[in-house]
């Protein structure tokens, strides 16, 4: 295990080293300052504003205007993506001749990609044209990520602003984030991934006569260009059904390392960006520390649990100890080149962030190892979380912690000099509680009815319960990873959609949960930003509760765990923890 911990340590060191430089860069982009790419992309940026007919610097938006632009933009994109998924038969770049999938599945998939979730009931290589993957889904991987960061930027401006109600301009933020952050990193990253073996072509699937005389068909496609933004934008939707465990998405230890870094680097760096924008790096590091502690605990728990092996393996007489030349551990649903350590690390990374890309099978995780993704989702994706979304979610928890801390010491709660009043704390509470409520209602409805049963693979036992609960936790938190036995799509003759149909209940319930649990919190966050914008700042005094010291970090961690545990502990107990506590087989 020492070698595994060394790899985890290397990852953490590289990640932390990138937080400051990338954090500064992101702050410059969001503050409309010059960056080193301005000479390259500046003309394109100005052209974009002319095309969109906006004058961003002259047109500051208050929270309602910002929200309206965001909602209309997302709504129109929803319609366009749905149309793309429904017209596969007439599209170019369709060498396999795929027709469109069923309408209910398309509803779910569209909602899933608009919301930065990438929950997938379908398998990409067996159902989608290259056109739909490139011009439909991958576009959302860029755009939904940019929307998340834009909302964060608006919230920070609200926190900082001392006069006026402007939160910036939505179109301005969108264009700058895409042009200066997501696109350039994707171009470099995609070419790197291709050089390491991730495929990038528009060819027909290759038929191969194998060495021992069999036949193997290798699906092809423009994978690298989608792979990189799927990680960078914490989207997670695989080109292939088995996602980043498939060697054409993730061929080696090195690509695995780079892809993990791409997932976590923006959410981590944004804490530094935050410190810079509010004028105190200590505030940023305090939030980073709280996230980091919860993240590392998760990594270690998964790693130890997976290295131990599972009850089914031990009952079968398999020895799961590591020895020279073998990793040992629970290798069910894991690939050799990643082994236990890198699959465990990835599992924690993809669930603290709202990425959801996987390099191993979650449903085959041990009980306690599997409890970590549940816990991370139970924290409502505020431990790093999705790009932008994680930090704006965490800032709601920060305000909550300030409020509770203020009550404990008997002072008016204030954050960065601004008093937190009744209106703010009501909005914060709604924002914090909306997603857990959506999870419990939908997962409850699905597990209590016959309609929900049709989606189960493992049957009526703790693993089946986990499948169902995780499906709705994942969709509500816009994560997208899965206990993948759970399904909303039946495909009798893969590849292709011939005879395929959706499980309407699961598709529609999931779709509604995806949309509401993404956009309701966004509206609450923008409303909080609007309420804070222009508030008078009072100077910090002796009685002011500090929000940049270890005590506050401890309080913040406590609040995040408290809200998550109160909401989800009973449910998680019935699923993965039941599996983890018993040697019984079902």
């Amino acid at each position: 295990m020492v070698q595994g911990y060394v790899q985890i340590a290397i990852f953490v060191v590289v990640l932390v080293a990138l937080v400051k430089p990338l954090g500064i860069y992101l702050a410059r982009v969001l503050n409309n300052e010059r960056v080193f790419l301005t000479p390259v992309f500046g003309p394109i940026e100005r052209g974009a504003y002319r095309l969109l007919r906006v004058k961003p610097e002259a047109e500051g938006q208050d929270w309602k205007q910002y929200a309206r632009s965001l909602v209309i933009f997302s709504l129109l994109f929803w319609i366009l993506l749905y149309l793309i998924l429904r017209t596969q038969g007439i599209q170019p770049f369709n060498p396999e001749g795929f027709h469109s999938g069923p309408w209910d599945l398309s509803f779910n998939t569209t909602s899933s990609f608009i919301t930065n979730t990438n929950w997938q009931y379908y398998g990409g290589e067996t159902t989608l044209t290259y056109f739909a993957q490139m011009a439909g889904l991958a576009v959302q991987n860029f755009v939904s990520a940019a929307v998340g960061i834009a909302v964060l930027a608006a919230l920070i401006r609200g926190i900082v602003s001392r006069s006026g109600k402007s939160l910036g301009n939505f179109w301005h933020d969108l264009v700058r984030i895409l042009l200066y952050v997501l696109l350039p990193i994707s171009i470099v990253g995609a070419l790197f991934l291709v050089s390491q073996g991730v495929i990038q072509n528009l060819s027909h699937a290759t038929v191969i006569h194998t060495l021992s005389g069999g036949t193997q068909i290798l699906a092809q496609g423009p994978v690298a260009s989608q792979e990189v933004i799927k990680e960078l934008g914490t989207n997670g939707g695989g080109f292939f059904n088995v996602n980043s465990s498939y060697p054409f998405e993730n061929p080696s230890g090195l690509t695995n390392f780079v892809e993990m870094l791409l997932i976590l680097v923006i959410p981590a760096a944004l804490t530094y960006t935050y410190g810079r924008m509010v004028g105190s790096q200590r505030q940023g590091w305090a939030i980073f520390s709280a996230m980091f502690v919860l993240f590392i605990i998760g990594v270690v728990v998964v790693y130890i649990a997976e290295q131990h092996g599972s009850p089914a393996q031990h009952a079968a007489g398999l020895h799961t100890a590591a020895f020279d030349g073998s990793t040992g551990g629970n290798m069910e649903g894991k690939d050799q080149r990643f082994g236990i350590a890198n699959t465990s690390l990835w599992t924690a990374i993809t669930t603290v962030t709202s990425c959801g890309a996987v390099n191993g099978a979650f449903e085959s995780l041990t009980g306690i190892g599997g409890a970590v993704p549940f816990a991370n989702l139970g924290f409502s994706e505020v431990v790093f979380g999705g790009v932008g979304a994680g930090l704006y979610g965490m800032l709601l928890y920060v305000l909550l912690a300030v409020f509770i801390g203020g009550l404990m010491v008997g002072r008016t709660p204030e954050y960065l000099g601004k008093k937190i009043g009744a209106r703010e704390i009501k909005l914060v509470s709604l924002g914090v509680l909306f997603t857990p409520l959506a999870v419990l209602l939908s997962a409850g409805a699905a597990s209590a009815t016959e309609l929900g049963k049709r989606s189960l693979y493992a049957g009526i036992n703790p693993t089946g319960f986990s499948e169902n609960l995780y499906a709705y936790m994942s969709q509500a938190n816009n994560n997208g990873s899965a206990w993948a036995g759970y399904t909303g799509f039946i495909q009798p003759h893969p590849p292709g959609n011939v005879g395929a149909f959706g499980i309407t209940f699961a598709d529609l319930l999931g779709g509604f949960v995806l949309i509401t649990a993404r956009f309701a919190p966004i509206l609450f966050v923008l409303a909080v930003a609007g309420a804070l914008a222009g508030k008078r700042v009072s100077p910090a005094g002796l009685g002011t509760m500090r929000t940049d010291n270890p005590t506050f970090v401890f309080l913040l961690i406590g609040i995040v765990i408290l809200v998550g545990a109160l909401t989800f502990f009973p449910a998680i107990l019935l699923g993965p923890i039941s599996n983890g506590l018993t040697g019984r087989l079902f």
Binding site: Q7, A48, L52, Q65, I72, F73, L75, L76, G123, M134, A135, V139, W171, L178, I187, L191, G197, V198, I199, N201, S203, T206, I208, H209, L211, S212, G214, Q216, L218, A219, P222, A224, Q226, N241, V242, Y246, F248, P251, S252, L254, P311, A312, Q313, A316, L318, H319, F323, S326, T327, M331, G333, K334, D335, Q336, R337, F338, N342, S364, T463, P495
Partner: protein, 199 residues
């Protein structure tokens, strides 16, 4: 308000079309073009040829049966390269226990006659568990060294020669530290078959 709404609708309509063209067509097609020129091998699947005939991809495992080949790991998809899915066997699944029992027995049946010291305790986990991708190209070094006895005997090769080929076809950790070492089964079998072809 309605004027603002109309403006937003117009701006959004232009934005979604422009973004679809730039991010959804120009970007991936440009990456494809550059990749096809600069990295044609990896961009098209890292294919491996024998005597000018493509027999597979370095990155995608294949199924091997019979005593003369190194065997890949168990797979939920029978090494499908165009319909992929996870096995999804849960940690407390009685079905999984039966599958692993059968895999263990089969592995011992196949290899013990050639490696008499082989016991259940020495069987590495990767040999009897399903991979995630279904097309895991690698097996562990321990797994390869056990199978070496059988392949050497069946192909009438000295064990030391087979072990040498194993070490030649082992992908070590990236940059010496990242990931786990694995023996590439397809490349190893190609090398073995070149050394001692089946009639």
């Amino acid at each position: 308000m309605t004027q603002g709404l109309r403006r937003d609708l117009r701006t959004a309509a232009i934005a979604i079309l422009a973004m679809t063209v730039v991010l959804g067509l120009i970007y991936p097609l440009a990456i494809t073009g550059i990749s096809q020129v600069v990295f044609p091998g990896p961009a098209n699947g890292s294919k491996v040829s024998v005597d000018g005939k493509v027999v597979g991809s370095h990155l995608i495992g294949q199924e091997f049966k019979g005593k003369a080949w190194f065997h890949s790991r168990p797979s939920a998809t029978e090494y499908s390269g165009n319909v992929t899915f996870f096995g999804n066997a849960g940690p407390n699944s009685a079905e999984l226990r039966e599958e692993i029992r059968e895999e263990l027995a089969a592995y011992l049946r196949l290899n013990k006659p050639y490696d008499h010291s082989l016991t259940r305790k020495r069987v590495p986990v990767d040999a009897v568990t399903q991979s995630a991708s279904g097309v895991d190209p690698d097996i562990s070094e321990a797994n390869a060294l056990i199978q070496a006895h059988r392949v050497a005997a069946v192909r009438h090769l000295p064990l030391s020669k087979v072990e040498e080929l194993i070490s030649h076809n082992t992908d070590s950790r990236s940059l010496g530290v990242l990931g786990e070492p694995g023996v590439n089964v397809l490349e190893l079998n190609i090398a073995i078959d070149r050394e001692a072809p089946l009639k």
